[in-house]
Symmetry: C2
Subunit: 188 residues, 2 copies
């Protein structure tokens, strides 16, 4: 393990409703000093969850919604913030019900994926959801979310398509395909 840099000073230098920017003055173990900026977790910091919901051994549920960051309708996985008092699996099942209209009898936490670890503290928990059943919960979305079925066999085609771009969602689907292959539940 390398010795982490010492924090000489820290300050909040910008803040909006959703985003908080912290400036860090760091001294590395070789004596070099640098000023860094990082984005802190939004809100109360209960974290976020992303759901790979499998309808059968190879069909994953994608949702399409307006993404203000890139100003486009895009496909991605159901995801959202964990609410106070919720654990990761409960949050995953709630988001799945709100955004895709399905609940899952089988939920499995796989790993956490960071956003941009050099500049952001955010980490999203990836949950594999199986044994699905129809159940819709009202969410806070401004308009109806379209749900689309997608085969794990076509992930690389999805990655290169116009209406999908999210790196974390791509990673989560590949990871699920890899794990299910290793367990003998998916035949490549």
């Amino acid at each position: 393990m390398r010795q982490k840099p010492d924090v000489l000073a820290r300050a909040i230098v910008a803040k909006s409703r959703l985003f908080t920017v912290e400036e860090l003055q760091l001294r590395f173990s070789n004596g070099v000093e640098r000023t860094y900026e990082r984005l802190l977790n939004r809100g109360l910091g209960y974290g976020a969850v992303m759901v790979v919901a499998m309808e059968d051994a190879e069909t994953v549920l994608l949702i399409e919604e307006y993404c203000a960051g890139v100003d486009a309708y895009e496909l991605s996985l159901p995801k959202g913030l964990i609410e106070p008092g919720e654990d990761v699996l409960a949050a995953a099942n709630r988001e799945l019900k709100e955004e895709a209209g399905f609940g899952a009898r089988q939920l499995e936490h796989l790993t956490g994926l960071s956003l941009s670890p050099g500049y952001m503290s955010q980490c999203i928990q990836v949950v594999l959801a199986r044994d699905l059943y129809a159940e819709r919960l009202p969410g806070d979305e401004p308009e109806t979310i379209r749900v689309e079925r997608f085969s794990l066999r076509d992930i690389s085609r999805l990655a290169l398509s116009e209406n999908f771009s999210e790196g974390r969602a791509l990673a989560a689907m590949y990871l699920v395909r890899d794990l299910l292959t290793q367990r003998g539940e998916y035949q490549p």
Copy 2:
């Protein structure tokens, strides 16, 4: 194609050296109005690049550096901002030389991956680099970057390990493995 929401108003609500937050007042096609926030591209907006550099048919170069966002040393792919006047491939080769000490005779742009399309405009270009040769360029890193060889056969193990977390890097490596498999250049 769905009709994108109308932008009723927009304003910069927070700004630091690296981050700019824009607030958007949106009206969706069903009449619902919402206030959104999004993070705009840093700096001059030439974009960023991430390099999957293959030393042979299955060995990828990872780098380890301090990540202030998550306050840890982590493994990831070489990456960085595109400089004015550079194209994507030239930026990839420069970052590879600065961070890993290698250049590539063969560079191929695969796709762009967004960070968090609902809240952020950032997109990183994924470049596959092959036919490597030793060449180091001085970078702006505060300390020496450690380079590690990693087999594409072990991606899912990397995904679950303590010192790796970046979703986009995971997606880029899986994507390369998938494409090389399809082309018959990698045997699963």
